[in-house]
């Protein structure tokens, strides 16, 4: 799994981007999904772990026709709830993935790409509702279960 390099020379059919910080417990949900998919060694599928810094994230959108982003979410839903956005159909709510301390994050990256006509052919965003974002390693049980579910859904998307 790549660690956020901007290697625009590589182009795949699909790019999976797991966003988050593994050292903030459930914030690592997206990275864990990406890691599971990476282990499957799928052909023409590139997998990336990314901090979620929006401007850098946006730079990866041209690297594949299908881009799937997975991030932890914090929206007052019950822990483990899986949120799904098809960027073609709807904007990403700007306050949805705001746990990240980054001033320019996943939602802003997607909407800025839309404003600049830089969205990939298809862009899907999964959010896994987290509950524990404190400093530390490991996902809570509910989030762990949802990681399995999201991996399965992404396999269908591919």
């Amino acid at each position: 799994m790549d660690g956020g390099e901007s290697d625009s020379g590589k182009r795949s059919l699909a790019l999976i981007i797991g966003v988050g910080n593994e050292y903030r417990c459930d914030d690592g949900a997206g990275v864990e999904v990406a890691r599971r998919i990476d282990k499957l060694n799928l052909l023409q599928v590139r997998v990336l772990a990314h901090s979620g810094e929006g401007a850098s994230l946006l730079e990866h959108f041209h690297e594949a026709d299908l881009v799937i982003i997975i991030d932890a979410a914090q929206s007052q839903c019950s822990p483990g709830t899986v949120h799904f956005f098809d960027a073609d159909n709807s904007p990403i709510p700007s306050d949805f993935f705001n746990y990240s301390t980054h001033a320019f994050s996943v939602a802003e990256a997607v909407e800025l790409a839309r404003a600049l006509n830089k969205l990939p052919t298809r862009l899907l965003v999964y959010g896994i509702e987290g509950t524990d974002f404190s400093a530390g390693i490991g996902l809570t049980k509910a989030v762990q279960n949802s990681v399995d579910a999201v991996v399965g859904r992404i396999m269908n998307d591919l």
Partner: protein, 430 residues
């Protein structure tokens, strides 16, 4: 008619981290200003105790996703000071190169995505991109050049993993820089265009007599070496930082306030660096500054957006110079010999000086650590700016005044995450 009011912003966007601002106005005077950082402290200094000296650069890099190199450079220079090591030649040049990458990345993000929308009247860069697509795309491409430098030298663009005490784990091949050279030449021109672009913005007429504090190097624009100097007579070695600066706890914020023991609030960051080191800029950067209407010093914090852009010109030129002269070193690092010692380091993070001090035992285990990030140092100055700015603009509506207060905070590109993390703003008129 005299006014009493409170202006309050519960969530200040486009800053890094979680904080709030409260301004109370009574009888046309600002009675109270509080820049509050309510993100819980993260105890990085405590994490460091008991760890090996060589772990410090990777642990401290995690303090911030925007400026990890600043922390890594502070940590490695402090450790090398403790262990009496010298890192010169191409290894030193590579350090300057990766730091140029961070400056480009961080400054361009702030200039185009976070600060320019304030001046142009947009809620955010997404709205701005609809009317200024070429400018925003220039910003994104320029920022990517910084990211690419970080990736080549640091191993990856976020939280680089290649920096170590004594140098690097692996020195990049010269060929790796080849493709980037042409893009850096484009970036140098784009940076000059950026200075022109931001120089046309409307700036509030606002200046203060700040005490600027920055590093000063005998012949370079400073990054991680030099003396700590100010425009009010400070001229000290880095090791003497704690004799002259103190950290104070304020009840309403989770970040310590830094002060100069003798004179109180001071200002770190691009304006301070520029005003104390103008003569160390390259002729092209000086020319860009001059054409943008800047003098050799700048006391208007709103014009920090121009100064950041000038520093991007400089960083692109410095990166090109280093790449042109680069030869892969035989060994990527200098060996360290652990010993009981205390070492200090200071680097110029994009937002200003970042001080580190570590005490090690015989085996190089960290006994205690002190890290003072730039945003902690600017907190009192941010409050001082608002205390002076607000009374001069009471004619503005709450909405407009709130907007300008947020803009005034963003002049400092505050990294609240570093200082401890959202900013909420409250202006109360009674």
């Amino acid at each position: 008619m005299k006014e009493n009011r409170t202006i309050k912003v519960d969530y200040l966007a486009r800053v890094e981290g979680e904080g709030s601002l409260y301004v109370k106005i009574k009888d046309d005077k600002v009675e109270d200003v509080k820049f509050k950082i309510f993100e819980p402290p993260r105890f990085f200094e405590a994490f460091l105790r008991g760890r090996e000296y060589k772990e410090a650069p990777d642990i401290t890099a995690r303090i911030c996703g925007i400026c990890p190199i600043a922390y890594q450079m502070g940590a490695v220079t402090a450790m090398e000071n403790a262990l009496d090591m010298r890192v010169n030649g191409q290894l030193r040049a590579l350090r300057r190169l990766i730091y140029c990458g961070e400056w480009i990345e961080s400054h361009v993000l702030h200039v185009y995505m976070l600060h320019a929308p304030d001046f142009l009247g947009y809620e955010d860069a997404i709205q701005m991109a609809k009317d200024y697509p070429d400018a925003v795309q220039r910003g994104l491409r320029l920022k990517k050049v910084g990211n690419d430098l970080m990736t080549i030298v640091g191993g990856r663009e976020i939280h680089p993993i290649n920096v170590r005490v004594g140098g690097f784990y692996k020195a990049p091949d010269k060929a790796k820089f080849k493709a980037l050279t042409e893009e850096l030449k484009w970036a140098r021109e784009a940076a000059v265009e950026t200075v022109k672009f931001v120089s046309t913005l409307n700036f509030p007429d606002f200046e203060r007599d700040y005490e600027f504090v920055a590093l000063r190097h005998p012949n370079e624009y400073p990054l991680f070496e030099g003396r700590l100097v100010s425009n009010k007579g400070l001229d000290i070695e880095i090791k003497d930082y704690e004799q002259h600066f103190a950290e104070e706890h304020a009840k309403y914020t989770n970040a310590l306030h830094s002060v100069l023991k003798d004179r109180g609030a001071y200002f770190v960051g691009p304006l301070a660096r520029y005003s104390l080191n103008y003569d160390r800029l390259t002729p092209l950067a000086q020319q860009a500054a001059k054409e943008a209407g800047l003098g050799k010093t700048c006391n208007n914090p709103f014009k920090s957006i121009i100064v950041r852009s000038v520093e991007v010109v400089w960083a692109c030129e410095e990166a090109l110079r280093i790449i042109n002269e680069y030869e892969k070193p035989d060994k990527p690092y200098v060996e360290a010999n652990p010993r009981a010692a205390v070492g200090c380091g200071c680097s110029e993070a994009p937002r200003g000086i970042c001080y580190h001090r570590y005490r090690l035992d015989d085996n190089g285990i960290i006994l205690d650590a002190k890290i003072v990030p730039p945003t902690s140092q600017n907190q009192k100055t941010i409050e001082g700016d608002l205390a002076e700015f607000v009374p001069k603009h009471l004619e503005l509506s709450d909405e407009k005044l709130t907007w300008q207060c947020e803009q005034a905070v963003r002049n400092y590109d505050p990294c609240i995450s570093c200082a401890t993390h959202f900013l909420k703003l409250e202006i109360k008129r009674e």
